[in-house]
């Protein structure tokens, strides 16, 4: 299994929106590689004919009817907002168009 190098680490941190301090980068890198080595044990097994389990509960087709239920009041919805304006969540300027 691959070792995570510094560039990959920074890439992963960016994907996860985590701003790491330099000393964190080093420490995390070492710890992650240790953990990866340990979890890589799963590759010792022959898994070629084994189906994956994503749910341990054997349910399918769990639905709700298309019916309107009460929403939160806007005050409740915005109650935790770090900033609000005009009944909307105020967020810092975005860089990227999505």
């Amino acid at each position: 299994m691959a070792n995570i190098d510094r560039d990959q680490l920074l890439h992963v941190a960016r994907l996860a929106r985590l701003e790491l301090r330099e000393e964190e980068v080093e420490r995390l890198g070492a710890q992650l590689n240790d953990i990866l080595a340990a979890v890589s044990k799963v590759s010792e097994l022959d898994l070629s004919d084994v189906p994956p389990t994503s749910h341990s509960v054997p349910l399918t087709n769990v639905f709700r009817a298309d019916v309107v239920a009460p929403s939160l009041s806007p005050e409740a919805a915005l109650s935790g907002a770090p900033a609000a304006e005009d009944q909307r969540f105020r967020v810092p300027r975005m860089l990227d168009e999505e």
């Binding site: 929106r17 701003e19 799963v42 097994l45 769990v62 300027r93 975005m94």
Partner: protein, 497 residues
Amino acid sequence: MGDLTRLTAAQTAAVVASGEASAVDVTRAHLERIDAIDASVHAFLHVDVDGALTAAANVDAKRAAGEHLGALAGVPLALKDVLTMNGVPTTCGSKILEGWRPPYDSTVVRKLREADVVIIGKTNMDEFAMGSSTENSAYGVTRNPWDLTRIPGGSSGGSSAAVAGFEAPLAIGTDTGGSIRQPAAVTGIVGVKPTYGAVSRYGLIAFSSSLDQAGPFARTVFDAALLHAAIAGHDPLDSTSIDAAVPDVVAATQHADVRGLRVGVVRELNGAGYDAGVRQRFSEAVDLLAELGASVGEVSCPHFDYAMPAYYLIAPSECSSNLARFDAMRFGLRIGDDGAHSAEEVMALTRAAGFGAEVKRRIMLGTYALSSGYYDAYYGSAQKVRTLITRDFAAAFENFDVLVSPTTPTTAFPIGERTDDPLKMYLADLDTIPSNLAGNAAMSLPCGLSPDDGLPVGFQVMAPAMADDRLYRVGAALEAALNDRWGAPLIDQAPAL
């Protein structure tokens, strides 16, 4: 009226129902106990004095009006700070949620309120349920009531310590890799992870969605059964909620006969690295079950050796996604919003400041395991190992009604002993993780104090999914026999605080 805090939940409900004590008096007694010892134990992050007294007063009013009271009416309960309660601070042990008051109740809380349980406060936990010692809390450690220099287990350490310290007769925790059972084991009380899907996850702040499950802490198996029955049941707000009758765990507790029951000792869950004292007390308990008429054998579940690696791929992967919502935009901590930083930068700065080291580790690990090119080798493989573990359990349950093991390899280790070694910390979950991966039910109950250090040892019982009642049948039988042997419940031997 003697010390109200020394009563079991069942006894508490009885005195309230009979009028011997008011629910308000019961709540006050526990609030006083918290005042007296929680500065040392630090089980609680938030004590809801007003809410608890109001709920208690409500119970008294109902009683006075002749209304029907449920089996747990007036009983104080400590709630792990990972479940939402409308208007009450919920932190998940993290700085990123400091001050956040959810605008809605979790289903577990709704059911507890409907049962007239008095929720006395929110308990400390490893941040976002990641940890085995509660040392990962951003709000300080919780200490084991048996020895204040030691960990109470994790991640539900606060809930476990609260019950073991008589600050409440009942608590709710959550168990993703052992976070109810392991704390119960190291604090000498009963902890249960119900079948996955038995208890609603609506309002349970997610760590690993396919593994998380809320469950009861109590000082007796019967108390745990009462609480289990109160919180279990189908919830239309949770798509993974089982839509079938809850097994009658209370009845099972009252018919605690293990004669003819086939008990399998799992070979892979009792080996090198286990404390001698733990192995001894475990083995004595197994022998006791045999004496009680159970037929005991050994069983091998060969893929259990791969359970830890699989878990430490699945859980971080799911959590890396679940924790993405903590981004400073809609709730919680916000850092760096000074006009100079973009939204993307504020997200990154906030998450860096708001998350602790273990959480960051797991987010990074999970993000990597899911990333392009690595999915098949890591997450994909782990999900397949999960299938093999489920098959191992199924095969074992063909020949045995329950499986048993020590709950955790050691007794409570000292605070600070493993904080620099994540992998060593993860070893505490060796015995508990397989049941999370397979989704079946498991319980830990105290089986003695280690002869080496006098600290509690936990005995784990595992049952197939939907057969939670078997846990209670075996647990109650063993508990009764052990209490006979000890002359009194084990918790009575805990040092006075």
